[in-house]
Structure formats: structure tokens, C-alpha cells
């Protein structure tokens, strides 16, 4: 019998599987951190976790509540600073970063700053970039975990906080950004990547029980639908056990 799980657990498991062993990942709090921790305990024991405020490869005793709290450098190999982390990204030594936001467009650009059309009087103000723009600009592969809905997946972001492929094609390189950019989007409905030339968002696999129509209905722009679409593998019993018992026993992330 297949184990039961919620969509947050599914997204975390999918993300964890896609972090290669022996690579570096810059994570925030919450789901990305859970994914990196799960990855270490399953497929990628030598995954190196970095926190933007300075913590490098800590022995995480529990889920941090802040990217700079003391857990992020507990028994770390280095407790450095923000500049150390960001320059490590800039030099090309950080493979993955996780980003989130209020809106994402078809080229993977992300809005975490504001909703509305007047910058000086936003309808809703969010925190802004923090380190997100830096990660999106400087890391090789940015990963996005988010809920799939029409007001999140929009034709055009009200504001581009962090770069994806900008207007697609070579726009990213032409703007002066280094090679890199969004790599994978994991939602409660599907997994998406970007077309190698046009850099437009493309469905890779549908989550268990999800049909393509559902994905289309919940996306505010036209997705590239390839002839062959995969099926996202459900979390295994072992993944779920580790996630629930070892990574997030207090259900801070997966419980919601």
C-alpha cells in the first residue's frame, strides 16, 4: 500500500532528490531547509548546506527559525559572514539555491517585493529581495517550491525582484548576469523546468493524481507542454519516515 502524504511533504521529497551529492546548496528557513536536510539523510550525504548570513555546513540540531540564528552555525565548519557566502556564490562555488515569492512568471522571474502597479503606494508590500536576488543572480541552479495558482504563476510579475531568464532567450546574459538561473519549479501539482532555447517554463512531470488540465487552469500564462510528460514519483515510505521523524519532528514545516 502506498503511504499517504500531504503536498508539502511531496514537494520536499522531490526537491531533496534533485540536490546532487557533493554539491553546495544555499537554503533559507522552512521547506528548503527541510529538503536539504532530507537530501543529506537520503541520497546526498555530502551535500553542503550554506546559510546566507554566514553558517557553513552546520550539524543542524533542529530546523532554524532564521537564516542567521545560532542553529545555522551549530558545530559548523565555519561561521563567517554574508560577504563570505555571497562571494562564494559569485565565484561559482554554489550549485543550488532555493527561492520563493508571491509571483513567478514564465521565464522564472520572481516577485517578492510588492503587489500593485504603483511602486510608492503598493497594494501589498512584501520584504523584498533580501539575499534572493543575489542567489538568483549568482548560483548555478535556483530551485523554487511553491503552491500552484493563477495569481502566483502570472504572465508578468508586478515587480521583478529576482532574475530568472528575464525576457527569455539570451536576455539574462545580455543583462550582464552570469550563467545560471532557475532550474526547477516544484509545486503541489507538477514539476517544471525551462526550455533550453526560449527559456520559457515547461512541464516536466505531473504529480501523482494530477492531470495536465489542472496545471493549465492554475497557470496564468501558456506553459510549454512537451509531447511526453513524466509522472512525479511519490514520496517513499523511507523518505517520509526520515522527513517526519528526523528532519521535522515538530511538524513546523510539514504540519501545515
Amino acid at each position: 500500500m502506498a503511504p499517504e502524504y500531504n503536498t508539502m511533504e511531496l514537494m520536499i521529497c522531490v526537491a531533496a532528490r534533485n540536490l546532487e551529492d557533493g554539491k553546495t546548496v544555499a537554503v533559507g528557513t522552512g521547506a528548503p531547509c527541510a529538503a536539504a536536510m532530507l537530501s543529506q539523510k537520503t541520497c546526498s550525504p555530502n551535500l553542503v548546506i550554506l546559510f546566507e548570513a554566514g553558517g557553513v555546513a552546520p550539524m543542524l540540531p533542529s530546523m532554524p527559525i532564521s537564516v542567521g540564528d545560532s542553529r545555522t552555525f551549530y558545530k559548523a565548519i565555519m561561521a563567517a559572514g554574508m560577504s563570505e557566502m555571497m562571494t562564494t556564490c559569485a565565484r561559482g562555488m554554489v550549485d543550488y539555491a532555493f527561492l520563493g515569492g508571491a509571483q513567478i512568471d514564465k521565464y522564472g522571474n520572481i516577485n517578492s517585493t510588492m503587489v500593485g502597479s504603483d511602486y510608492s503606494h503598493p497594494k501589498v508590500r512584501f520584504p523584498g529581495s533580501g539575499g534572493a536576488n543575489d542567489f538568483a543572480s549568482l548560483c548555478w541552479r535556483t530551485m523554487i517550491m511553491t503552491v500552484h495558482s493563477k495569481d502566483r504563476f502570472v504572465e508578468k510579475c508586478d515587480y521583478i525582484t529576482s532574475p530568472g531568464f528575464l525576457t527569455g532567450g539570451n536576455a539574462r546574459e545580455e543583462a550582464g548576469l552570469p550563467e545560471g538561473g532557475p532550474y526547477m519549479i516544484i509545486t503541489d501539482l507538477a514539476v517544471m523546468k525551462f526550455h533550453p532555447e526560449s527559456k520559457a517554463m515547461m512541464v516536466v512531470s505531473l504529480n501523482p493524481g494530477v492531470e495536465i488540465e489542472q496545471v493549465k487552469e492554475n497557470t496564468g500564462f501558456e506553459l510549454i507542454i512537451p509531447d511526453v510528460i513524466g509522472r512525479t514519483e511519490a514520496p517513499t515510505a523511507e523518505e517520509l519516515r526520515i522527513l517526519r521523524d528526523e528532519v521535522d519532528p515538530l511538524k513546523v514545516v510539514i504540519g501545515r
Partner: protein, 327 residues
Amino acid sequence: MEVLDQGINPIFTDPDPDKAREFFRQKSRAMVDKRMTEKEAVEKFVHDGDYFAAGGFGANRIPSMIIHEIIRQRKKNLGFLGHTSTHDFQLLVAGECIDRCDAAYIVGLEARGLSPNARKYVQAGKLKLTEWSNYALDVRLKAAAEGVSFGIVRSILGTDTFKMSAAKVIECPFTGKKYAAVPACWPDVVAIHVHEADMYGNCVIKGISVADLELARAAKHLIISAEKIVSNSIIRENPTITAIPYYMVDAVVEAPYGSYPGNMAYCYFSDEAHLAEWLKVEKDPEAFAKFLDHYIYSSANFEEYLEKCGGLKRMEELQKLENVVEA
């Protein structure tokens, strides 16, 4: 120098390195006792209209004590450097102390949610904003610390973060690569909370330094609050770990639990219940006004605030929480 593109928002601080040099030329290098109370430090070094920045990151190792005093002294029209500012930003907005801000991360408290009051303040246009990323702001501080008027970064290019910044796109004279040039930022006054300082201002920070090494070096005036004042001979025993030398420092304030309700690594964890109370009470402006009056305005000093928050008993709980981190 050819500028290919530029952000549309203002620079809040003067990027002229020679004016900064002239300031630092006059700044005393005397190794004298700089200990004073938080009241004296803020009276002496924070003035209405100044551009202010705080050390730490999120609610970690932030100079809560000094910020409370800024609110209590009702400082107005301050500028603020918001690089992953959370409770510090929330406090300064609660006191309506700031009217302009270099923003990389504001109004939120990371995983804890968003501050209703700070959000309202920004949405009402009460804060003139110029946007940056955390690292772009850090490069601005590094440039100031290096005594030059600009730095370069590959972040923010191509985005609205660039458009709403004051950066300029330039090309490398060696490779033709494009960069965002960002102006040096010398804040008028900076407050940093550290683990240990001697009475002259030599400081030790344990754990991550975030952007505080740059911030201390870019600061025109620097207020240090320290969990513990140590003797100069302790500093001299291990000069390798001095994070900030005394000649950058103007004031040294003894501040046990000075980052509360934030997390001070190796000392005490954040008071999540109190931070949650903030987020809750902010939803009701009237209740929030009473809350602020109770905790800040009607407290004679930070010590009184700590008493109201549970005093030593609560602090000991938070110490325990910090020291028993292993599952």
C-alpha cells in the same frame, strides 16, 4: 565613465570618499574609556535626520537596547539601512523614527511572518525607499570600508530591484563584462551588539559576523553594546579574534541581554513568544500604542523592559533554550 543604465531612486548618503576621509581624519584615535549608558550614547551620537544602521541579521545579535533608546528619545527622520532587518525595522517603524530606507529586506520577520504595522507604514508611503539586495548593500558598505566611492556587483542586473535602486550599469575596462556599480555608503551612526568589548571599544564577536565587520568600518560614529565588558588584557591575549578595533568606536554600553528578544549565539535564544505578541498586537493600533507605551516609552531603560518581559527568570529560560540545541 560611460553609464549604460541607471536606477531611478535616490542615494541617501554622500558617496564622496574625500569628505569621508576628512571626517575620519578628525575622528579621535585616543584609547580612552568610552563606557556610558545607552541614554548617553544615543543622546551623544544619534541626531534627528541621521542615517542609521544596525548590526546583526534578522532578529539575531541586533542592538535592541540601543534601538529602544532611539525610540524612547523620540529620534525623528532617520535614514535606515535595511539589510535583512526584521525586529529592528519593526521597532524603528513602531517609533516612527525613520523616513527613508535603503531596503533589501524590510517589513518581515523571516519565518515568523510580516509585521502588520511596518507593512502599513510602507504601504502608506511613509518611507522613501531605494531598493537593493543584501549583497548589493554589503558591497556598498565594503566600498565605504575601503575608502572608495563605489563597488561593483553582478547581482540586481536586469531586474526591478536594479530599476528601483540608485545603481548604474558600467562595463569592465578589461573584459567588457557588465556590472552594477553601487555607491559607497558611510552611515552617520551604527549600533552593533557584540559578545565582548573592553572599555576602549575593542570587540569580539562569536559565531557569524553577518555584515558587521564592514558596517563597523563604514560607520562614521559607532555605538557598541556588549553582553560583557572585559579587560584590555583579555583582548590582547588573543588579538587574532578582535573583530572591531577600538578606534572605530565612539561609545561602549554594557548590555547584558542587549539583543533580547533576539537570539544571541552562545548566550540566549530568541523569545519567540514575545515576538509573536508583537505581531499579534500590531493588528490593533490602539492596543499597539498601549503595548509600546508599556514596554518602551514608560520604561526608564532597557533593563526595565527586560524586567517587564519576565526578568532574569525568562532570560535563564532563553539561555537554556540556546544551550540545549541538540535534539
